[in-house]
């Protein structure tokens, strides 16, 4: 099964030029260290590394990824720092964040 898409960072934006976000941070995604830019969304970081699959749905087990991009749908919900159902599209990355692909409805790992 294919698990990655090609990587896609825009080196120099045709209208906006250089990316003002330069501060590099590191996150862990399913145990793999990934470099991110502080301020960008989790979904963006993952897509920049070719990771498109964010969860597997409870009924059918079908994989899902970024869909609406505005925090409305359940497709990009991941387990982040042990918290379930975090929307990757509207949640900025933080240094040291632990991101996990969510299967079914996930399982709580922390008390919040």
């Amino acid at each position: 099964m294919t698990t990655r898409h090609a990587t896609n960072r825009i080196a120099v934006h045709p209208v906006l030029g250089e990316n003002p976000r330069q501060e590099k941070v590191r996150v862990l995604c399913d145990g793999e260290p990934l470099q991110a830019l502080a301020g960008e969304s989790i979904a963006t970081t993952l897509r920049a590394h070719g990771v498109s699959i964010y969860r597997a749905m409870p009924e059918t087990g079908s994989s899902r990824g970024l869909f609406c991009g505005v925090g409305r749908c359940p497709d990009c919900m991941m387990t982040v720092d042990g918290v379930l159902n975090v929307r990757a599209c509207v949640t900025p990355v933080r240094d040291g964040m632990v991101i996990e692909t969510q299967r079914d409805l996930g399982a709580w790992k922390v008390r919040v």
Partner: protein
């Protein structure tokens, strides 16, 4: 319970216009917006804008958003970003959840400027990772500088679809396929998008962008039980408003795309009218005049495609077309009934991405006019909030 004179929900062009007009008239204004910064869709719109009037005409959308953030600050407007207005209750009281607090905001006037969401239609494979909305693509490119894919298909027609296709190409994507709607399209791959097939012709791709138009997002107005009427050009029930954009419920105004999709400049002009009217300003006649001068560019929306029984309709609850057809054959002839029987529309998105398919299928299968199929009952929360938001609600 907190209080304010004017609560503006949404800081897109309509909310900006409303808040600035009300603040000019000396009103106390609180703006609630779910994004990190004001501007709404303008933040990821690279096209130069017209119809806003001086000094904004000729600026890009993102530049107008930046201008607006400064103007709101300078006007003393309280802007709550990363915050959601999740409910609109009696006595124009808004349920608000911010990163720091959860409270009720009682306002003398509420201006709903919640904009529009992407319109989508189901087709085989549309749930695969790699299929995404135009808005998701634009945000990824212009806010975060990442392409949604390298070989991209764009489905949709009209100015907005042309813009997203042009932006993708300018940012370095290869456009492998373009067509007006989703009819005849199948997307496939093992676990994520690897190809798109149309009439037997298959192209390799890693993203499929849905640029099928927009739909008004007026959930809060419907929660407040405002009068609404079916608008064929929007394909949904829209809020009935008087000349000053007031709804049928006292002190509730609706401005911009939330009441029917149009241009950003029109939304801005509508916001100014609602802001003037709500704050009793002397500028109302001028704002009405500017609104009349803004051109409206209605675009025809794609019709519901043929939908096979095994195609997913409700993405949240994983309900397929066949299950909906069976329930309709069994007697479900309203959206609320169809929702209860199948769970379609019961998920986290609150039916945003399936309600139109549900009403279209009831119309087609049961022979009921689409304007006689009432929308599903709007209930709080209008946005995803943690249970703690209710547990911690300030009295």
């Amino acid at each position: 319970m907190r209080t304010t004179e004017i609560a503006v929900i949404g800081a897109g062009p309509a909310g900006i216009g409303a808040a600035l007009a009300a603040a000019r008239n000396g009103s106390n204004v609180v703006v609630i917006d779910e994004n990190l910064a004001p501007g709404g869709h303008l933040r990821w719109t690279m096209a130069r804008q017209t119809g806003f009037g001086p000094p904004l005409d000729g600026l890009r959308g993102d530049e107008i958003a930046f201008w607006a953030a400064g103007e709101l600050r300078a006007s003393g407007v309280e802007v709550l970003t990363s915050s959601v207005a999740w409910g609109l209750f009696d006595d124009s009281t808004v349920g608000v959840h911010t990163p720091d607090a959860s409270f009720q905001l009682q306002a003398a006037h509420v201006i709903i400027a919640t904009g529009a969401t992407d319109l989508t239609w189901p087709f085989p494979g549309w749930e695969l990772p790699g299929v995404l909305t135009a808005t998701a693509s634009l945000r990824m490119m212009h806010l975060d500088r990442v392409l949604p894919g390298q070989r991209v298909a764009v489905l949709g027609s009209g100015a907005d679809a042309d813009a997203v296709a042009a932006d993708l190409a300018a940012c370095g994507a290869d456009l492998v396929h373009r067509q007006p709607g989703v009819d005849g399209v199948t997307v496939g791959g093992s676990g994520l998008v690897e190809w798109i097939e149309v009439d037997g012709a298959r192209s390799g791709c890693d993203a499929v962008v849905l640029a099928l138009g927009r739909q008004p997002d007026a959930q809060l107005a419907h929660q407040a039980q405002v009068a609404s009427t079916y608008a064929a050009d929007n394909g949904v029930f829209v809020v009935v408003r008087d000349e000053s954009l007031a709804s049928s419920v006292p002190n509730i105004f609706v401005a911009g795309d939330a009441a029917g999709v149009g241009s950003p400049a029109r939304a801005f002009a509508e916001g100014s009218v609602a802001g003037e009217a709500a704050s009793g300003g002397v500028g109302l006649s001028g704002a009405l005049q500017r609104l009349r001068e803004v051109e409206q560019h209605p675009e025809s929306l794609p019709l519901m495609p043929r939908i096979a029984d095994d195609t997913l309709v409700c993405r949240c609850e994983e309900v397929r077309a066949g299950a909906l057809r069976a329930a309709i054959a069994d007697g479900a002839v309203s959206i609320n009934d169809l929702k209860r029987r199948t769970r379609s529309g019961m998920g986290i998105c609150q039916g945003v991405y399936c309600h139109r398919t549900m009403s279209g299928m009831i119309a087609a299968e049961a022979g009921i006019a689409v304007d006689a199929i009432l929308p599903m009952t709007a209930r709080p929360p209008a946005r995803l909030i943690p249970m703690a938001a209710l547990a911690d609600l300030e009295p």
